[in-house]
Symmetry: C2
Subunit: 260 residues, 2 copies
DNA sequence: AAATGCGTTCGGTATTGGTGAACACATTTA
DNA sequence: TAAATGTGTTCACCAATACCGAACGCATTT
């Protein structure tokens, strides 16, 4: 958890700290939070009353919980990314056609965030949710995005990166990663071979806008079990690439003002 | 917009006011916000720096935008409702089987909120998003939920209700609504006949937990065009009711500790 | 009937959020 | 080239307020 006291408006920091406590504990009461955060009950009570009044917290009985207002604002935040509107129906199509789970991811700040995820017919893939952060170096989407960035930005993201997430089947150093990113760039496709979750493979392609700048990535997730080499190396990659192209076209239409 | 100064922690109120401005204007800069809210630039700057540090706001260039952190927390808030986990795959099935859009809604505080929405193959239904609020009296989901509540709670929700949302095809008074809610209770099904959006019809059924308490509703949305009377009065209602039953069973399993 | 749990209210005070002016930097105008 | 305008940012001052701690009301438990 971030140290909330290092920012100029400490009261807002306290409110957020209380929100995080509510999330961590799946709802809590005034006294409980005051204990955990080592604050007075009255202070906590004031914050909760404020957050409730503002619609971010719901009180039921003795418990306070975070409200669906976050989902409302979250849906809006997602709609800020043109990739979402342009890609959501293509994800449905990709997921149906491939029988795999599929989704969209974007780079926000220094993390790759899942914008949308659709569970496939073979339901035994990890339960990724919209809003989840994806590891940079051991997921197909992360690699696709890294490869599409300029070197300066990539260096920023990987500064101090430890290469310790995922299953350990992935790279152990920056130079190994850089080598793979070269391949990703030439193929226009990134893969993850059981590097993120055991028995799970991923395939992803970056999507750029009309200006050539990165808009995000579309990815596909599937269980290794019963997956033939040809399917992983030819069929599925083909579907992902064609989906990415389709999204690029939709994006071009919306970014240039429709069917130029 | 709520008056933010009526709550004890005014600084949090100000932060939220700034967030709302960012949403309203699709991102904004320090000066712009200071103008709109009639506050000093330094104050706005401090709040934005705090919100950025806490991860709720993203700065790109001169603009600040709300971040996907809201989506992350929103997904969590949604997962607090057992109806979501129990119903999301049933919604997919219902949507596929019926060819309509379908979704889940719950009562939070005094509003009915959409937990999940899946666009159907016939894509010309309103673009409902997770987190959207649904009108109480002119949507099928709203009526299903109202009908399932105790009288006291229903009175609370409808106190001061104006019956002016939707297309105007709906009820104009509380007594008319009450009459329909009786029918809803006996049929176990609520409908909306172009009352919310023109040319759109809805069907919904409430879902209760093992304690008999309301957990929310599952709904279906479809265009009137090309919809036969039999389909709207028999086929689709049958699908919705069987979906609701299926979710009730899933809920029972999870609430009693799996396959009792 | 006493004791413990909860959330809430209240006054006092040290902290701090807000202001407005000055600043650095970029872009636009003359 | 120089001035003018537009950003976001920094700073010192002061009134406003977020915080504390004790008291309170109300349940539930002992």
């Amino acid at each position: 958890m971030v140290d909330v006291s290092e920012f100029p408006v400490t009261a807002t920091g306290t409110s957020v700290q209380i929100l995080e406590t509510l999330i961590e504990r799946n709802g809590a009461g005034v006294t409980e939070i005051a204990d955990v955060l080592d604050r007075s009950k009255s202070s906590v009570h004031n914050h909760l009353e404020t957050l409730t009044g503002l619609g971010f917290v719901i009180k039921d009985g003795y418990d306070y919980r975070v409200s669906l207002r976050f989902l409302t604002i979250g849906s809006y935040a997602r709609s800020q990314y043109p990739l979402y509107a342009a890609g959501v129906s293509e994800v449905a199509q990709l997921s149906t056609a491939s029988g795999c789970s599929a989704g969209l991811a974007v780079l926000e700040g220094d993390s790759v965030v899942c914008l949308h995820h659709r569970l496939g017919p073979d339901t035994d893939t990890p339960r990724v949710e919209a809003g989840d952060r994806l590891p940079l170096d051991c997921t197909a989407a992360g690699k696709a995005i890294l490869a599409a960035l300029g070197e300066a930005r990539r260096d920023e993201l990987l500064a101090g990166h430890t290469f310790d997430s995922g299953t350990g089947q992935s790279h152990s150093s920056r130079s190994e990663l850089d080598a793979e990113l070269g391949t990703v760039r030439t193929r226009g496709l990134a893969v993850d071979r059981e590097e993120w979750y055991p028995d799970q493979r991923g395939i992803a392609a970056a999507v750029e806008g009309v200006d050539g700048e990165l808009r995000g990535a579309i990815y596909l997730l599937t269980a290794t079990e019963g997956l033939s080499g040809k399917r992983f190396q030819q069929d599925l990659p083909g579907l992902v690439i064609s989906s990415a192209n389709s999204i690029r076209n939709t994006l071009r239409e919306s970014e240039t003002g429709c069917r130029e």
